[in-house]
Amino acid sequence: MAATEAPRELIKQGAEALVYKTTYLLPTIPALLKHRPRKPYRHPTLDLRLTKHRCLSETRLLTRCRGLGIPVPAVYFVDEARGEIYMEWISGRSIREVLDAMIAEGRKEEVNDLMKKMGQVVAKLHQNDIVHGDLTTSNVMVRGERKSGLLAGATMEKVDAEVVLIDLGLGMMSTQEEDKAVDLYVLERAFLSTHPQAEDLFQDVLTAYEGSFKGAKAVMKRLADVRMRGRKRSMLG
C-alpha cells in the first residue's frame, strides 16, 4: 500500500504472537501491536477461529481490567480477522530488569515499595476474579513516565514507579482459589529463578496481597498446596 504504512519495529517474539512497536492513527501516537500470525500447519478455518477467539478474549479482559482500575494497557483497536491488537504503549522496563538494577545498586527501600505495589495490583486482579494465567516477572512492567494529556499531541511526564500488568493472552475469569494460587505460584517461581537472593522479597509481595482483599487468606492456603505438588494438579482418583 501507500506511504501511510506505519513503521513497525519487532520487539518480542513468542510462540503465539509477534510484538511490534508502532504507531496508531497518527505518527505521534506510539502504540504496541500484538500480531498473532497465521499458523500454516493449522486448518485455515480452525486457524481463523482460534486467532479470532484469542484476540477477542484478550481484548475483553484488558478492557474489563481497565474499567476496574487495574493498571493494564488500554486497547486502541482490534482486527480480529488478521489477529492484530493495537494497544497503549507502556514506556518502562519489566520488573525483572528493574529489580536487577535496584538490587545491584542496593536501593532497598524502592525495592520494598515496588513489592508492595506488586502485591496490591495482583490482589486487585484476583479480587475481581480475573486470573492472569502467565504472571511472570517479564509480564509486569514498571512505568517511570507516562503520557500526560490526550492521545493526539501529548507530552511525557515523570511519575512514581507504577506497576502495569501486560500480556493477558492466557488470562481468564475464574472464581477458583486454585487458579489464583497458581498465579501466585508462577510468580514466585519466576522471582526465585531470576532473583535467587529474593526469597524475602516475594514474602513482601504476599504480605501486601494478603492484606488487600477478603478472599486472600483462602488463596494463600491453597498456595501452600500448590507449592507441594507444582503447578499442575494431579488427575489421579
Binding site: T4, Y24, L26
Partner: protein, 186 residues
C-alpha cells in the same frame, strides 16, 4: 484554511480524511434531510460535535469505519460515512447511534467528515467549498481546544453511560475509546 486533512496510519493515501467543523449551525434540519433523502452530493459524516470529547475520539471512529471498508467486512450501515457515526456508538443499535451522534434538528456544532476514495477522489478545496456553501454556521478550527469547547458532558455521560465527567482527561478519553472498542469485539 480551516479544513483539516489527515492521512491516518495504515490507511491508503487515497482514503485521506477531510474534516471541517462548524459552530452556531442554523440549518441542521436541512442537512439532516439531505442525509435522510440519500442526496449523493451530501455524502458526509455529519457528527454532532457535542458528543465528541477529543480529536482522537473522532479519528478512532473514522479509522474503524475506513478499516472495515478496506477489509471487505460488510459495513453495517449504508456507506463509510454513516459507518463513522455508527462507530462512535458503544452499542449495536444503529438508529440510536444516528440519533445520538449524528446531526439532529437541534445540532448547533457540527463535525463534517469526508473520506476520499480511489474511485472518486475529492480534494480538500472541493470539500470545503461545498460545505461552506451548504452549512450555515461559523467555521472553526479542528483542534483539541475547539473540540473541548463544544463538548456537552451531560450528553456524553448519557451516550457512554459515564457519570460525573465534566472535563476531558487522558483517563476519560481512554474510557470512551474503550467503550467503542468493546462494541466491535462484543
Amino acid at each position: 484554511m480551516a479544513i483539516h486533512t489527515i492521512q491516518l496510519q495504515n490507511i491508503p493515501v487515497a482514503h485521506e480524511v477531510h474534516i471541517v467543523s462548524f459552530k452556531d449551525v442554523e440549518n441542521a434540519s436541512f442537512l439532516r434531510e439531505q442525509l435522510l433523502g440519500g442526496n449523493a452530493e451530501f455524502e458526509y459524516a455529519f457528527v454532532d460535535a457535542s458528543t465528541i470529547v477529543s480529536t482522537a475520539h473522532i479519528l478512532v471512529a473514522v479509522h474503524q469505519a475506513v478499516h472495515k471498508l478496506l477489509v471487505n467486512e460488510k459495513l453495517r450501515t449504508r456507506n463509510v460515512h454513516s459507518e463513522i457515526v455508527f462507530s462512535l456508538s458503544p452499542n449495536n443499535n444503529i438508529t440510536e447511534a444516528f440519533r445520538r451522534f449524528g446531526i439532529g434538528e437541534n445540532t448547533k456544532s457540527l463535525l463534517c467528515v469526508k473520506i476520499s476514495s480511489p474511485e472518486k477522489t475529492i480534494s480538500a478545496a472541493e470539500v470545503e467549498k461545498h460545505l461552506m456553501e451548504s452549512v450555515k454556521g461559523t467555521q472553526m478550527e479542528f483542534n483539541e481546544s475547539t473540540i473541548a469547547a463544544e463538548t456537552d458532558w451531560a450528553n456524553v455521560g448519557k451516550c457512554y453511560k459515564m457519570k460525573g465527567c465534566k472535563e476531558i482527561s487522558k483517563e476519560v478519553e481512554l474510557e470512551v475509546l474503550g467503550k467503542m472498542v468493546m462494541r466491535s469485539v462484543g
